[in-house]
């Protein structure tokens, strides 16, 4: 567990550029029938896989800060959580600790509408397990899974899926 925790305080690999980042949040997020825009909250470790996926998604997004920063992210509107699966096949370590800390804050839990998990099918039944765990704990749907930083097809699937789902809420 200590190792998993340590992952989160690693500094970002400086100088990395993202092929399809498009300058960050240029796209407009889907809006529900009640007029609420869908937020994105994500966690990404030093590998930046999830960060890259979110950049490709192109919607405004908040990154859960590493514990070492001493900052706590507090959300104030409905959002979907995008979370990488840790643990390399060990179920108990699947959800990154900073994500657990974030969800332990009640308002953050109250605004959670769904979860999307990344992972690697090489880990078999533990593929994207963080999504299943958060879904069960917080009683929200696990909306999608994708591998590593996501293929262009994964990005389209999630963007289209979230849009259709949220605009009908």
């Amino acid at each position: 567990m200590a190792g998993q925790e340590a992952l989160t305080s690693a500094p970002l690999a400086g100088g990395l550029r993202f092929a399809n980042a498009g300058g960050g949040a240029t796209g407009r997020p889907p809006v529900s029938r009640a007029g609420e825009a869908l937020g994105i909250v994500y966690y990404s470790s030093a590998s930046l896989n999830t960060h890259r996926f979110v950049a490709k998604l192109g919607w405004p997004a908040e990154r859960i800060p590493p514990p070492a920063s001493g900052r706590q992210l507090v959300v104030s509107g409905p959002y979907v959580l995008i979370v990488p699966t840790y643990g390399g096949g060990h179920d108990s370590a699947a959800v990154p600790r900073p994500v657990i800390g974030f969800l332990n804050h009640e308002p953050n839990r109250a605004w959670l509408r769904g979860v999307i998990a990344s992972g690697n099918t090489n880990f078999g039944t533990a593929y994207g397990l963080a999504g299943d765990i958060v879904a069960a704990k917080c009683q929200v749907p696990c909306l999608a899974k994708f591998e590593l930083m996501g293929t262009p097809c994964d990005v389209r699937r999630v963007r289209d899926g979230l849009t259709e789902w949220w605009t009908n809420q």
């Binding site: 340590a6 100088g15 990395l16 590998s47 096949g89 593929y127 765990i133 749907p141």
Partner: protein, 343 residues
């Protein structure tokens, strides 16, 4: 060969090198590895993961596969042996040359230690195929498989392409080749035991293969991550050069891999199915290196039976978005400690 660039020189070993060259008086002392002073947290996290995942083939009851081995035709048995001999060759290279060649370029002493773990585990993988052989096969069958591995030009060429990079002087090109081996080159071989497993054959052998596949995921992730760390220290031109090198090397290996696949699988009519699996894993290898996937979705749709064999006992894949939206299944509950989830 290009010169070793400053950004990726194994700084922590420089004291050892200068000691050899300039005598004891001016030499920096040789540094002992201190695991209580971590420079890159990923080193410790991956070390813990790899040691936590440690396994040996002796723990898997391979002899239970003997009855189903006897149901394979002689041709199917021969194919299986050749596939495993090919995998043994790759593990041999990775254990004794590939992972070892990365040690001198490590940016931290802990990174060097992780490579020693990876090298050893690759040797465990190589030995596990010998356990499978000795359990299922006769000596003439085993000898035939190794002779085939020695003689098959596609397999030898695959080895030669990778070894050329491993014996080169560019630390980041070595990591590219290593990640492609870990995350792409194995999969023409991994396909077959997953295929047998999907037909309830050689299921204990498949247990070993799944343990290997899990290890290779961590190896590919880590070496690809270290590649990206090295890349981030370099100039933009260097990044472009290595991106071109990566795609060129992948395509060179892919062409050879398709021919290798045809050599093996054409007689059993599985070539197309295997090459889809190859392209799917080629995309994942690229992503481990931080590059965009190359092959489009319709060329990488892996046979669902193979994906299921990767994940035995799992529920069916529920796609929330393409379903009605009301029938999603809440994931299985995993026990977590109360401290973790204080609500």
């Amino acid at each position: 060969m290009r010169a070793v660039s400053a950004e990726t020189k194994g700084e922590h070993m420089s004291g050892v090198e200068s000691g050899a060259e300039s005598g004891a008086e001016t030499a920096r002392p040789v540094e002992a590895i201190d695991w209580n002073r971590i420079e890159d947290d990923v080193d410790l996290a991956v070390w813990d993961r790899l040691t936590g995942n440690f396994w040996l083939p002796e723990k898997v009851p391979l002899s239970n596969d003997l009855p189903s081995w006897q149901t394979l035709t002689p041709d199917e048995q021969e194919l299986t042996n050749r596939v495993f001999a090919g995998l043994t060759l790759l593990d041999t290279i990775q254990g004794t040359v590939g992972a070892v060649s990365l040690i001198g370029d490590a940016l931290t002493p802990h990174e060097a230690a992780v490579y020693t773990n990876i090298a050893f585990m690759e040797s465990v993988h190589a030995k596990s195929y010998s356990s499978i052989f000795s359990t299922l096969c006769s000596t003439p069958q085993i000898d035939e498989a190794f002779a085939w591995a020695r003689a098959n030009q596609r397999l030898q060429r695959k080895a030669a392409i990778v070894l050329e990079r491993y014996n080169g002087t560019d630390p980041l090109a070595k990591k590219v080749a290593s990640t492609l081996l870990e995350s792409f080159l194995f999969y023409s071989g991994f396909y077959l035991p997953l295929h047998w497993s999907s037909r309830a054959k050689l299921t204990n052998t498949a247990d070993i293969i799944r343990l290997i596949i899990r290890d290779e995921a961590v190896h590919g992730y880590y070496i690809g991550y270290k590649f990206q760390r090295g890349l981030a220290l370099g100039a933009a031109a260097r990044r472009e050069e290595l991106q071109d090198l990566t795609y060129d090397l992948l395509l060179e290996l892919y062409d050879n891999e398709v021919a290798y696949t045809r050599d093996l699988y054409e007689p059993v009519g599985l070539t197309d199915d295997v090459t889809r699996f190859l392209r799917y894993n080629a995309n994942k290898a690229l992503m481990n290196l931080g590059f965009e996937a190359l092959f489009p979705a319709d060329e990488t749709a892996v046979n669902p039976a193979i994906l299921s064999a990767l994940s035995p006992g799992a529920d069916e894949n529920h796609d929330f978005f393409s379903g009605s939206g009301s029938s999603y299944v809440i994931g299985r509950i995993v026990p977590t400690e109360d401290d973790d989830w204080a609500f």
